[in-house]
Amino acid sequence: MGRNIKILVFSLLTIFLLSSCAILYPSIARAKKDYEKSLGLRNKIKRTAAYENILGSLNEKINNGIKAKDAYIVYINSLYQLALINPEKRKVFYNRAAIVSAVFVKKFKYSGISHYYFAKSLYLTENNNREIIEKIIFHAHKANNLFSQKGFSLERKELKKIIQDIENAISN
């Protein structure tokens, strides 16, 4: 009898977990896949449409402050790609990326990657306000401290260059 109850509880738990994952994650997984596919597109119009679609599919989740790192990463990277395609509108995209990464940091306070995206996005907005510069330096150092020693050397290298550029600008 006891064994049957255990099986029933585990089955119900499994069904619950599977159904909740199915509700939460397919759109993020799809967005991730779409993002990777978009990198192979050569046509600028098609690429723009692909990134706009990704942003559209994740917009609501991001605005509601979803607790899924991948959603923020794909969303912010899509904005970075759009800025590269339309450099004249870069500030719009980078400002949006900065706002989204601020939410990312709020949701994942102890994740190096969230602080990395916040520092990078703020830096890319080309805002030379002292307050912003202080924020960039603070979050870049925080990201460096939170990244484990072994991984994220690409990101750490980028942050090093960002700080270097800012310090050069200040000294000039």
Partner: protein, 160 residues
Amino acid sequence: MYSKILLNPRFWELIIDITPGVKNVFLHLMKVERIYLPYIPVPGIRQIIYFFKNDEVLKKAFQKDLINPYKNIDKLKNAYILLNYSGDLRALKNLKVLPKDYILNKAIENINDFGLISLRLKKYIKKYKSYSTFNIKKLFTQINSLKGNEETIKKIWDEI
């Protein structure tokens, strides 16, 4: 040949802080034409411009494009990815804007980095034992032969 390694994004972290030139030659030996973007962060426009303006040789080579970098961002982005994440030595050799043998000279200048790569690779392979040891041994031999050996690097460069 090394497809299993290439699928692991952590692999790219082994070589990312290695100087351009050495990195390009290493990727060429790995037969990697270009590291795909999902494994590398998307470069921002300001970062790309800083990269070219911060290096005297590159600044001079791309000075025309740097007058209006936002208009020429596509060209600068492609050159940035080629210089930082590509083993396509033929494309680098034929990049007309760069001084002649720029990549070769960079590789020779930082020749000791080949030793650093082989050390890291050894540790990496030890950690992920499932990779084919035959191919890796071949790669080790190639890299170790480049350590402190200008002639072999020149030979690779000339063969392209």
